[in-house]
Amino acid sequence: MTRTGWIDILPLIVLAATPVAVMLAIAVRRNYFVSTAITFGGLVAAFVMLPVVSAQSDRQATALLLMDNFALFYMGLLFAAGLTLVLLSYRYLKAHPGNHEEYWILLLLATLGSAVLVASVHFASFFLGLEILSISLYTLIGYNRMSAIGVEAAIKYLVLAAASTAFLLFGMALVYGEIGSMEFAQIASARGALDDGQRVFFLSGLGLMTVGIGYKLAVVPFHMWAPDVYQGAPAPVTTLIATISKGGMFALLLRFFTQIDFRADDSLFWVFSVVAIASMVGGNLLALLQDNIKRILAYSSIAHFGYLLVAFLAAGDLAVTAVTFYLIVYFVATTGAFGVITVLSGPDRDADHIDDYRGLFWSRPLLASVLTGMLLSLAGIPLTGGFIGKFYLVAAGAQTSLWALIIILVATSVIALFYYLRIIVAMYLHPSEERRDVSVPGVASPTEGFVLLTASVLAVWLGIYPAALLHIIPAAIR
């Protein structure tokens, strides 16, 4: 590898070195604050490396990784999400008994895995990134090993993720068998030359890969793990799954399938359409039946990825901008919503039942206002980024005349209002007598307050003046 090649992957190197540094620090002396600081510093350093890389002319670092603007932009997004998670997790973990320095190692590794995913242009790096991400997630989900549902969730995730990885690998093997290359660019150029017999295997391979990717994104019908894992995992880890894990995977989906021009095959287009429709309908309908806020948000996230698939399927000029903008808005709203849950959660259990939020507006008006704003953003109500984001998704779909999908998106968004409004209404009701005790008074620590404030400002700012971000995105990802 050339010298510039090393510079290209500096953010990844920094991110890989930080967990080592944390481990060494733990070996010298266990100190929660120091390990947190190293983690935070590592993520900031990785973030700072991004402009350094973008100054490079040739950014193909080996055949595995392409650090183009798309990758750098998404890495920036992932690192920012990682930093937020550090701020969100700090008090939450401290309130739990035991040593928590290893948590940061896992968090960093998960971010690293996702960052590798967004830069990968080769099946090997794709698989590598995915596994780094998954293995840290197995542990993170069961991080609170005293909690029965936490351990159950971790086992469930482990089994299903391992199965889905098998599908993915088999799919990759089939594609490789027909094309003879694992590079995305080679696959894209060689696919046209396949004869009918080969195409069957090639398409089956892509179909099996879709299963693997679908599991990670938790789209219907590969969503079964999501509600249990969302509920069982500690609130900050749930945030990580909802943002870093799914975001990185969606970026890869966007890159790989756009590059191989999936719209050239009707069958793939139909597969993704069916998945999108099933996710929008299934996610929104099942969310109606839940009483647990984490489960509601799990199903809502399933639906959101259904919406995102609509724009992905549109694949017009607007599509990539729309998807990126929507992902950012979704990151902000999800982080904000889970941030409030984190603030209200104590060492005994997470505040995840809807009754925990009854009358929240009267006891914690600011927290309730933030959560209201985030839910309205997820529901796509004006003055929040979610409104502009949904508008953009529908615009991207309309541009390539996907009317049926758009109508379903619109109809299911209406259903979604039910469960978002249900949480909001609960917060504004007067607290009932039998209100379940939330063991922690629910005062945000300075770091949590900072995250919630930033999320609120961003959600409103993106809703009122999205032009600035919309100006940056097309330039940044081209």
């Binding site: 109500i381 508008f391 529908v394 309309a398 109508i407 968004s413 409004l421 032009a467």
Partner: protein
């Protein structure tokens, strides 16, 4: 610039009212009243300046306009503009806003700050709807009014408020999202045809498109407006929402939210899709007539007095729909007149019913009767607004309904004849309501305090305005005339066959300009 300030003032007033609610119950009320009153003064000054008897004829369609680039990537601009039609509706919005604050002065004692925040944000977003000329901005304000309305019904409403508020939200949101799809469809049809991607209303007018595209897009807009108006069979949210909302909410719903639907049809639906609307007009007029009769008959069947008033709205808004799709000068002026007069009468009736509920704690007419003896002022006022609502000549509603029927007669005689039946049924339910609630023996031996000074002042003001509308409608219609003419010209240029559309055998009624004056 002044348009921006007019909207921002109310939004800011709402936030201030919310904040002040933390310390006091009085301050939110005072802040809201002052905000809206200042706004009203400015609006009246603007009205006299631009549409007064001394002011010159406006040289362009819009008298005040402000435009800034907002999201240039999609051709979205922050574009507000005011013409006579918007002016009238904003004056109405502002006035009813003041009435809503006044009528809930004592009735609302919980979460006063948040209540007034919602009230002012509803008023401000509705004004935004009446001013927005960019379709995205229009949709933005259209959606923005829903959340505060939802809170208003959901928190301060009556016993069944949660059901009513969610039903209202879902219905209007579903209609709104269909409109969003239609707006985007229009955006891309226009962009593909001309290469200019924009949400600017003025540029989107006259977009060339195929017949079936126009029909589908028009139906998307119609869905949103028809839910708000409401058009039977999309009306089922209305009786629930109006009945369960607090008085101020009912006033806003009946007086303003329904008008937003009618305004959307006049400003956007017909001008943007003239031919599709013409093809659709017989269906729409049929729905209108069904709504007029259905609403009236169901109103008569109610025992809940507030629900009765709610159903009368469906009937009256049927006339508005009829007038809009008849699309000639008389019918449109009539539709605008009904919008204004209906807002006044129904608003007043809701306030009155609210006052009554505050005294006897029931809306069941079976438990009323003979109230005139104990509260004669209340009875008199109720009679006044009931006869206004049934269309007694000399009061505002009569002018509107008469003009609509007259205008409709020119384009569709059958519809006009059937619609007239609605006027008869409205007499039945209005007088029946007065009969049951206020006349007869006082079986339950009610002893009520009569209207107090505040309530009396509200009623007197609204009654005076209804009289003004009825006796001198020319002053109102003159403001709207120029914009109606402009809209008709826009439509006429794209449907040249318009002139020949009127049945030859229909008498061509041409009235002198001053005929409305007594």
């Amino acid at each position: 610039m002044i348009l921006t300030w007019l909207i921002v003032e109310i939004f800011a007033g709402g936030i201030l009212a919310w904040i002040s609610g933390r310390w006091s119950r009085l301050w939110p009320r005072i802040i809201s009243l002052v905000t809206l009153s200042v706004h009203m003064v400015v609006m009246i000054v603007l009205w006299v300046h631009y549409f007064g008897p001394m002011s010159p004829a406006p040289h362009s369609a819009f008298v005040i306009e402000t435009s800034h680039s907002w999201i240039p990537q999609l051709g979205i601009s922050y574009h507000l503009a005011m013409d006579g039609l918007s002016m009238l509706l904003i004056l109405l919005t502002n006035f009813l806003g003041i009435m809503a604050v006044a009528c809930s002065w004592n009735a609302i004692q919980e979460r006063v700050g948040f209540f007034h925040f919602n009230l002012l944000w509803i008023v401000a977003s509705i004004m935004g709807v009446f001013l927005a000329i960019d379709l995205f901005l229009f949709y933005f304000f259209w959606e923005l009014m829903l959340v505060p309305l939802y809170f208003l019904i959901g928190f301060w409403g009556y016993e069944n408020r949660t059901y009513a508020s969610i039903k209202f939200f879902i219905f209007t949101q579903a209609g709104g999202l269909l409109m969003l799809v239609a707006i985007l469809g229009l955006f891309f049809v226009h962009g593909n045809a001309t290469g200019v991607y924009t949400f600017n209303y003025n540029e989107l007018l006259g977009t060339p498109m195929s017949e079936s595209t126009a029909r589908w897009l028009m139906l998307g807009f119609f869905a949103a407006f028809a839910v708000k108006l409401p058009v039977v069979p999309l009306h089922t949210w209305l009786p629930d929402a109006h009945t369960q909302a607090p008085t101020a909410g009912s006033v806003d719903l009946a007086g303003l939210v329904l008008k937003v639907g009618a305004y959307g049809m006049i400003r956007f639906l017909v001008p943007l899709f003239p031919e599709a609307a013409l093809d659709f007009s017989s269906v729409a007029m049929g729905l209108a007539v069904v709504g007029i009769l259905y609403g009236a008959v169901l109103a008569f069947a109610q025992t809940d007095i507030k629900r009765l008033v709610a159903y009368t709205s469906i009937s009256h808004m049927g006339f508005v729909l009829l007038g809009i799709f008849a699309w000639n000068e008389l019918a449109l002026e009539g539709a605008v007149m009904i919008m204004l007069a209906h807002a006044m009468t129904t608003g007043a009736l809701f306030i009155l019913v609210g006052d009554l509920h505050g005294r006897i704690h029931t809306r069941d007419m079976g438990r009323m009767g003979g109230l005139w003896q104990t509260a004669p002022r209340m009875g008199g006022v109720a009679l006044f607004f009931a006869v206004a609502s049934l269309g007694l000549p000399g009061l505002g509603n009569f002018v509107g309904e008469f003009l609509v029927v007259l205008g409709t007669y020119q384009s569709n005689t059958t519809m006009a004849v059937v619609a007239t039946l609605g006027l008869i049924v409205s007499v039945v339910y209005s007088l029946w309501m007065i009969q049951v609630a206020f006349h007869g023996p006082n079986q339950h031996a009610w002893k009520l305090p009569d209207l107090n000074l505040r309530e009396g002042a509200i009623m007197a003001t609204m009654a005076a305005i209804i009289l003004w509308f009825g006796l001198y409608p020319q002053s109102i219609l003159a403001t709207a005339r120029q914009s109606i003419t402009n809209l008709q010209q826009i439509v006429a240029t794209t449907r040249p066959e318009e002139k020949t559309q009127a049945p030859v055998d229909a008498p061509n009624v041409v009235l002198p300009d001053e005929w409305e004056a007594p």
